[in-house]
């Protein structure tokens, strides 16, 4: 599967056309699926499903089209750092925005559940 065009690990990885086509069809199917699911009443889960499919599609693009699957550890750390920091921003701003109306100090899961469920 791996076919290097140059000496050492620097060279770009050549991905077989079949893999690209497979990923392509998976992406198309994912789009059809997410569109279709939107017309079924799943309550709160509609958003969860839509986001889950979007994340899966993103993973496919990042891993195969963008060659992250064949990239160095450093590249992967860079990608993860981006999402980690996005996570920091969203979580901590929500920790204020979504808890302002709280009257009583909720305990344990009582904190997490209403907090998370408001996002979906």
């Amino acid at each position: 599967m791996s076919e290097h065009t140059e000496q050492g690990g620097n060279a770009g990885h050549v991905v077989p056309v079949s893999t690209y086509v497979l990923v392509f069809f998976a992406l198309m199917a994912g789009t059809a699926l997410t569109t279709g699911v939107a017309y079924i009443d799943l309550g709160r889960w509609n958003t969860v499903v839509a986001l889950a499919i979007a994340v899966t599609k993103m993973m496919l693009v990042v891993l195969f089209f963008m060659h992250a699957k064949y990239a160095t550890g450093l590249t992967r750390i860079v990608i993860l750092a981006g999402f980690f920091w996005l996570g920091i921003m969203i979580t901590l701003s929500c920790s204020d925005e979504l808890t302002r109306t709280w009257e009583i100090v909720p305990k344990g899961w009582n904190v997490i559940v209403p907090f998370v469920s408001r996002l979906f």
Partner: protein
């Protein structure tokens, strides 16, 4: 390490005399020349931002305001803040010393992307021109924080032009940070492992992380603010369900880490200075190195302490408070390690060392007073008062600017190939230290007494302390002018510097002063740790040839 051949600067071709003319500067891709372009432009911005500060202190001598209408005063503090934060402090050490030194210190011929580097400078200049245009054509009166709905719906001044300037200058930061990260990862000389890097490089790496991860957020936030102001649509405006506090969250997501953009490079400089002038390996290398990284990371999770009194939820307040305390620890580790480095050293007191010691002292006070603001109960009283003003000036001026000046003095012989009069430099350092404390210490007291910041007029009982502060400011102002004069003088008339006038360690001191355009004739192979000063007791320090001293 390849040994230095101290070539007399006059006779050799170096980056300064390789070619001449405006074009050779404005179209240069040489990181050293770009560093100097930044040096010139931010020095200009420093004095542009300094004039309003002087006028403000003069105005505040009298409780009713000695000089201006409140409207003008508001524009003065806004201009001072915007210029100093976005156009001086943020680019100060990274863009000048960072650009100049990173390739030299890691044994590279240039940064990874020289064209991008020049583009960063042009973006900075374009951003600065917008800010200057806005200032000259009537100014802006929102403060550097641009809080809506005042900035989006009520202010009658040039908010959009300034925001655009900051937006564009932001991209300059992003590209600089990107360039540095790639350079430090990919351009290190053979043998120069991460734990052999000078601590300045670690600090610049941590700074670049903040540039890259924080700056895009302020960019998009200002974009949203501009759109709200131009199109009159509701994003942060509560009149249509928007939340003005969301702006503050996004703003401080960048602007709190931005404080560390200002101080981390200063910490890096001080690590270099303390080792060079005590001729010792740094105490606790890995602790100092990792504290830089942890400061960079923690800086992103503490922003809510700017919002303890804004009506942020109590729960978020508690989370942000505990995280804010966390950032004190790596800072403390650094201070203790610098102090311990002095132990049994061979300490000399040239001007750069005076700045470095001044930095440690002032940063200690600045950092410790931060504890008052991380503590929820005291922050409620102190937030929005002069206590805040004093605290962040201790960190940013007492800290960052002292380190910047120390660094400029330390590497000046390398940059220009000339020495400056050390006596004058020491006098200036002392004047700045004294002037600084006289200016800002009274403001701690003012803040505790309850005087709010951004007040054009104030109750008469605060006058004594305000006059003290203004008196100190006049000393501080003079202090800043002295280096400008003798450094400019030395460029032409200063004694010629050897390649290593301080007998310091580091790759940058192994090449001629000023360095040749390609930095290293042969890329060095590094075989030793940073700051590997000789230690065996009876041996004499080997004399470097061609040392010239004032």
């Amino acid at each position: 390490m390849s040994t230095a051949q101290a070539v007399p600067a006059e006779s050799s071709v170096n980056y300064l005399n390789a070619n001449y003319g405006i074009k050779s500067w404005l179209l240069t891709f040489d990181h050293k020349r770009i560093g100097l372009l930044y040096l010139a432009s931010i020095t200009l911005m420093f004095f542009v931002g300094g004039v309003p500060a002087v006028l403000m202190r003069l105005h505040l001598i009298e409780p009713q305001g000695a000089l201006f209408e409140p409207e003008t005063y508001n524009k003065l503090f806004s201009t001072h803040g915007i210029i100093m934060v976005f156009f001086f402090l943020v680019p100060s050490i990274p863009a000048t010393l960072g650009n100049f030194l990173i390739p030299l210190m890691i044994g590279a011929r240039d940064v990874a992307f020289p064209k991008l580097n020049l583009m960063s400078w042009y973006l900075f200049i374009i951003g600065a021109l917008f800010a200057l245009y806005a200032t000259l054509s009537g100014g802006v009166d929102t403060g550097w924080t641009f809080y809506p709905p005042y900035s989006s719906s009520y202010s009658q001044t040039h908010v959009v032009a300034v925001a655009l300037g900051v937006f564009i200058a932001g991209f300059s930061s992003i590209l600089t940070g990107l360039n540095f990260i790639v350079t430090i990862h990919k351009m290190r000389a053979p043998g120069l492992t991460w734990f052999r890097l000078p601590l300045f490089i670690w600090a610049m790496y941590a700074t670049s992380l903040i540039f890259v991860l924080g700056t895009p957020v302020i960019a998009v936030t200002l974009l949203l603010l501009g759109a709200e102001r131009i199109l009159h649509v509701g994003i942060f405006d509560p009149a249509v369900g928007g939340d003005p506090l969301l702006f503050q969250h996004l703003f401080w997501f960048y602007s709190h880490p931005a404080v560390y953009i200002m101080i981390l490079p200063g910490m890096g400089v001080v690590s270099e200075l303390v080792t060079a002038f005590s001729r010792k390996k740094i105490f606790g290398y890995s602790f100092v190195a990792f504290s830089s990284l942890s400061i960079a990371v923690i800086s992103f999770v503490v922003w809510g302490h700017h919002m303890f009194v804004t009506g942020q939820s109590v729960y978020a307040g508690l989370v942000f408070s505990v995280l804010s305390f966390l950032v004190a620890i790596p800072s403390a580790i650094k201070v203790f390690n610098w102090t311990a480095t002095l132990y049994r050293g061979s300490i000399s007191y040239e001007a750069p060392m005076l700045y470095a010691l001044g930095f440690i002292g002032l940063f200690t006070i600045g950092g410790l007073t931060g504890l008052f603001l991380a503590s929820l109960a005291t922050d409620v009283h102190l937030n929005g008062t002069y206590f805040i003003v004093a605290h962040f000036h201790y960190v940013m001026v007492g800290g960052a600017v002292m380190a910047y000046l120390g660094g400029i003095h330390y590497w000046w012989p390398k940059i220009t190939g000339r020495l400056y009069p050390d006596l004058w430099a020491r006098i200036a350092a002392a004047i700045i230290f004294i002037g600084f404390n006289l200016t800002f210490f009274p403001q701690f007291v003012l803040g505790y007494l309850g005087m709010p910041r951004r007040y054009a007029v104030y109750p008469a009982e605060f006058q004594v302390l305000n006059v003290m502060s203004s008196a100190g400011a006049s000393i501080l102002g003079i202090g800043y002018l002295i280096p400008l004069i003798y450094l400019t003088w030395s460029m032409r008339y200063g004694p010629v510097a050897s390649s290593n006038p301080w007998r310091a360690k580091g790759l940058e001191w192994t090449i001629p002063s000023p360095p040749p355009t390609e930095n290293f004739t042969e890329i060095p192979i590094v075989t030793e740790e940073a700051y590997n000063y000789p230690v065996a007791e009876p041996r004499k320090y080997p004399s470097a040839p061609g040392v010239a001293r004032v």
